[in-house]
Point group: C2
Chain length 233, copies 2
């Protein structure tokens, strides 16, 4: 849907770059939906302090584009033909970590969200939000913030809440203590010396622990204990 004329238009725009004010926020867009990308372009061009560098319908050339355009902020769709916006983020961030990237997508699922965030996206705005929100987000991210749609921010916070121990399997304090030493690589003998008890007692605790955890050896017990949050440090 993006026409060659449009590309030309944007190149022309880019050449005007020489006259821009230093304080302008330079923005590049990656969005395969032509209607939406035109809307965004218009909004950005008509916002004080914003300078639209280019508008791309895929991120096959993301790196080269970025080298040419040197934007301050990139607005990136995820679902684009041939190459996902997430790959674009990885590539751009690895060469230009200081350039801010705002994901602008319809995806509100955990998968894409945490994938993008772990790969360095600086903001995550849903398309269902108003375009004004995106404009505001661009300002925010340029000032060092991390704009997110409320729904997204909530998902992010929720991911912190499910930390607390899922199930402690009724392990006693002593059993957890012994298990902790086991995970540190102590042998039964070393543990017995450390805790000033008999090796047989250490063995006893470990046997009980295995029964409670429904495991049959040390490595499995340690794995289960760490994954369920029973032991940490």
């Amino acid at each position: 849907m993006t026409t060659p004329e449009m590309g030309y238009f944007l190149s022309a725009k880019y050449s005007r770059n020489l006259y821009q004010k230093a304080s302008m926020i330079k923005i590049s867009i990656y969005e395969d939906n032509a209607r939406l990308s035109q809307l965004l372009s218009l909004m950005i061009e008509n916002t004080e302090g914003f300078e639209l560098m280019a508008c791309h319908e895929n991120c096959l050339e993301a790196l080269q584009n970025t080298r040419n355009e040197r934007p301050d902020v990139i607005v990136m769709d995820i679902d684009m033909p041939q190459r996902s916006g997430i790959d674009g983020v990885v590539e751009i961030k690895s060469y230009f970590p200081h350039i801010k990237i705002i994901m602008h997508t319809v995806f509100d699922g955990n998968e894409h969200l945490f994938d993008c965030l772990s790969k360095g996206a600086d903001g995550y705005i849903l398309k269902k939000d108003s375009s004004t929100r995106l404009i505001q987000a661009i300002k925010e991210v340029n000032e060092g913030g991390a704009p997110m749609s409320p729904f997204i921010a909530n998902k992010v916070l929720q991911s912190f809440r499910k930390q607390p121990v899922t199930d402690d399997f009724n392990l006693t304090d002593r059993e957890i203590e012994v298990l902790t030493y086991l995970a540190k690589g102590f042998s039964y003998r070393m543990i017995s010396i450390e805790l000033n008890i008999s090796v047989e007692t250490v063995r006893r605790h470990i046997k009980n622990t295995y029964q409670k955890l429904h495991v049959q050896c040390g490595p499995e017990a340690v794995a289960k204990a760490i994954r369920s949050g029973i032991i940490n440090s």
Copy 2:
């Protein structure tokens, strides 16, 4: 610094509650700095759609207060005499999980931040932000958002970025495969059958793995592998 008179005043205010409009956002404040709490009170009382329920200088009685006041949103300081706001969050959230709590504090360190978030805080606004930002945050949180100061939102995002494998210790694919079975409780023999190789080869891989990880037994290896993200499922 909160005077008895102030308490009386607030009780009087609470009694007016009967006449409130259903759409009002009911707010309680926990803040030990009298000057700041008065400022916040004033701002809230003068904001359309906000109803100040009470203003407390500590959260010793947080649960009882909440039962009486039934706020929609609580603004909670962290550093208060006798009882930390974090304890307040835990208590209130365990009985009233639907009540939104915004932390309002000077602390911008990771420790308090992630502690609060994991315990269920719904927003985290720094005191250095303008009071207007807090008012806005109250609206946001009441609409299901997760308001955070830009600096805080960034910290939260950053916590996702350092997830990817810290160090893979140059383990080969095969070594990781064997280690994964080990963590599942497979013995060397079982692994050898599973992978259709000799027990000696399994042992070989494990020996090499221990050297690379600088550990000397299975439990320790598994602990290290899980903690550094080498193995997961």
